[in-house]
């Protein structure tokens, strides 16, 4: 099974679904699901065997090659499985929408492009697939027309800036080492001057920073998450934005030679410290901005940025101090975040599907009675996001904190911990306003979410709990990635870590919690019976308040907002919009030069030639 055959299947599948769509929608849905499940099967059985494929296409005299190793397998299996789940989810979600053929083929195309990135072994194919991914995302984000168009525009402008920066980096690498195969670059970079290495780091860092929405470069994310169709937002937030993390890991591999050989070059570790601090900043500020949002998807989008900060903090700090626990924590958090953010977006989409697109938190409420499965998914999703014990978020956060504290960086750890508390407040508001509280009259007869939506939610909820209780399963693969990147391997066991400065044992934790809750449940059950009452049989100081007379969840954290609101304006976004406005104004001024009559153009040319001659006479630059 050669890698380019896999890519062929993926891209071919995308076109096939488009053609089938022309024939019949049922055939197209079946084909889309079949292809995505086939990809999952392929990667599942490719677990242990690294594949090396050197030449698959002569392109301008450069040989493009693909490879599959521990790092790319880890990301690939995540991409295909989340892709398959979101395709299954969107079967019912997109049923009565228009342009569904375009939608399905684009979804498969985006998955294929991401696979391409992860499998590519040289920078040109990496760049091609990167561009393809960006453009497919742009087309999918602007699927709902009107407001989604400018969200897509904002996205594509920023990611184009990133890819242009990457292109410049690739060209400079090609010019200095005249090879584009990543392993060869890694070896030749070891001998390069530290200044050049720092330049490569910064250039690629900007490209991957924009994609991973690190703090100053994050402004495209909230609008594009909110406006994209929900199943695609799940994929976008789950894996697509984490291609930036894959890129960062790639850089650590490329400069891997530096770590093994001369130890960490001072400026390389300095760059990664800056990255770690940016990650810490990205954890704190967006999480508190998330509290202000009244739109469910905006709130989750801001958390997407915040959690991205954990990954960057883990990886940046791990590389800066050659600490494999932090690096493993960062990688593991990427997987965990992918799982529970997709789960949360799917539960929001399920509610949207039933309530006709409503996602304003102040007008929903009490849906736990009507949509229990979506509620359980949301509950497990937010406990993963917070990092409650027995969920996967907890283990990866624990790894990052332990590394930070033992290495003696309490302020970074403090930023991360405060991020957790900010998450708790804003995420409880999300759950409370959407599922708990009073059920409004108009949703009294809301039916449950359809089975095709409940299946992905159930699968992902069990994944959240499974990786929380048995973190050893993914950690074994991550351990292989760390050793491949040149870091020391961790003594990982099935249930956590043993070390003298503090251990983690999730099995004992699970046993303790299960036994104790059983005891508490027995005590609870033996006490006097309780009567289940209707929602309006509520204490209201003796008065009877009928159902829809008041709704109390508006302005959930009002006292805190009045204090924090001046500090939480999105200054970066305002700066960018001001910049864009200034550019538009100046371009307007320049446009006046083209008056349209030929005489002016001739005078411009003569003036230009005169100035050239003058310069030549005066300073003789040539």
């Amino acid at each position: 099974m050669k890698p380019q055959l896999i890519l062929l299947i993926a891209f071919g599948g995308a076109f096939l679904t488009y053609i089938f769509g022309k024939i019949s929608s049922k055939l197209r849905d079946g084909a889309a699901v079949a292809i995505s499940l086939a990809l999952v099967a392929i990667f599942a059985c490719l677990y242990g065997r690294p594949l090396q494929e050197s030449f698959y296409w002569g392109f301008l005299g450069l040989n493009l090659s693909l490879r599959l190793d521990a790092l790319s397998w880890f990301f690939a299996i995540a991409i295909v499985s989340l892709g398959a789940l979101s395709i299954i989810f969107s079967l019912r979600y997109m049923r009565d929408r228009e342009r569904t053929d375009f939608y399905y083929s684009m979804m498969l195309m985006v998955n294929a492009a991401m696979l391409g990135i992860v499998l590519s072994n040289d920078l040109i194919s990496f760049y091609i697939f990167w561009e393809m991914m960006s453009w497919c995302t742009f087309l999918l984000i602007s699927y709902n027309q009107h407001r989604a168009l400018d969200a897509g525009m904002k996205y594509i402008i920023m990611s184009m800036i990133g890819s242009v920066a990457m292109l410049a980096g690739i060209l400079s690498l090609y010019v200095s080492f005249d090879t584009l195969l990543i392993p060869q670059i890694a070896s030749s970079l070891a001998t390069a001057s530290p200044g050049y290495v720092l330049f490569v780091l910064v250039i690629f860092g900007i490209a991957f920073g924009i994609k991973n929405a690190i703090m100053p470069l994050h402004t495209w994310l909230p609008d594009s998450y909110a406006e994209a169709p929900s199943p695609f937002t799940a994929v976008l937030s789950g894996m697509l934005t984490r291609m930036g993390v894959y890129g960062l890991l790639l850089i650590t591999y490329v400069i891997g030679g530096m770590i093994g050989g001369t130890g960490l070059g001072s400026n390389v570790s300095k760059f990664n410290y800056v990255l770690a601090w940016l990650g810490a900043l990205t954890i704190v500020v967006p999480t508190f901005i998330a509290m202000l949002q009244n739109d469910a998807k905006q709130l989750l989008a801001w958390h997407g940025i915040g959690q991205g900060g954990y990954m960057v903090l883990g990886i940046g700090f791990g590389v800066a101090t050659a600490n494999s626990l932090a690096l493993a924590g960062g990688i593991f958090h990427t997987l965990n975040h992918a799982i529970y953010i997709v789960l949360l977006f799917m539960s929001v989409a399920a509610v949207q599907y039933r309530t006709g697109g409503v996602r304003d938190l102040n007008s929903l409420g009490g849906l736990v009675a009507r949509m229990p499965v979506a509620f359980v998914g949301a509950l497990l999703g937010i406990s993963g996001l917070i990092g409650l014990p027995l969920t996967n978020g907890f283990v990866s956060k624990w790894m990052i904190y332990k590394a930070l504290i033992i290495e003696g960086h309490p302020f970074l750890a403090f930023a991360a911990l405060i991020g957790t508390w900010g998450t708790i407040l804003s995420v409880y508001k999300f759950l409370h306003n959407m599922y708990l509280g009073q059920l409004p009259e108009k949703y009294k007869h809301l039916e449950k979410s359809p089975f095709s939506m409940q299946l992905p939610i159930a699968v992902l909820s069990s994944a959240v709990v499974l990786f929380g209780i048995l973190p050893g399963i993914p950690l074994r693969v991550i351990n292989k990635i760390c050793t491949w990147l040149g870091f020391s391997s961790l003594d990982v066991t099935i249930w956590g870590f043993t070390s003298e400065t503090g251990t983690l044992n999730t099995i004992n934790l699970l046993a303790a919690i299960v036994v104790v809750s059983a005891v508490v449940w027995v005590l609870f059950h033996r006490a006097a019976k309780s009567v289940v009452v209707a929602q309006d049989d509520n204490y209201a100081a003796g008065a009877y308040v009928p159902r829809d007379k008041y709704h109390y969840t508006a302005g959930f954290y009002e006292p805190l907002f009045t204090m924090l609101r001046p500090y939480l304006r999105d200054v970066v976004d305002e700066f960018y919009t001001a910049l864009a406005g200034a550019v538009r104004k100046s371009c307007g001024a320049v446009r006046r030069i083209y008056t349209g009559d030929v005489g002016n153009y001739v005078t411009y040319i003569i003036l230009f030639l005169a100035s050239l001659i003058l310069v030549q006479l005066r300073w003789r630059p040539w």
């Binding site: 209707a534 003796g542 009877y544 009928p546």
Partner: protein, 191 residues
Amino acid sequence: MDRNQIAKWFKEPSKMANKYSLHAIYFCTGCGIIEVPPVITARWDAERFGVIPVATPRQANLFLITGYVSVKTLKAIIRTYEQMYEPKYTVAFGSCPINGGMYWDSYNTIKHLDKYIPIDGWIAGCMPRPEAIFVAVTHLWTLIDKGMANGYERYKKYYRAYRRNQELALGKLEWPPLYPIGEHTEGGECD
């Protein structure tokens, strides 16, 4: 605590616990509310008897009705009483809830509160003094001991009659009945 007290604790803990931990909710009806603050504060400390004021009927098992009951207040009293859950006791202060007191011929007050919600203890007097309230609490203990403080069982047994009386006094009630009563059958016992 003498010997048989402890034995009684083990024989019927729920009765003893109900006696010595009466969480009271008092509805500020009529003039009696002036008596409650001195009762629960420093001078006549009700907490010695285990009686503490609580905020909501859900947490309470003692309902103090302090003073005359106007027709409008009766609606709130019934609502509060129905939001409390077994075992619950009610004590009415003063002569107005007994038979109307000095408002016996007023068109706007409820004469015999017992017709609308079951009352376990009455305290006579046109606003009883705090000592009278403590006597009432101790009497309530003996009632609970003998099992005679069964207002809530009476309410459940004759709920249809109580509901009919309430609707005679107040017209149609907005909230559904507490216990299932068939709309068609008239008077008599409910299961």
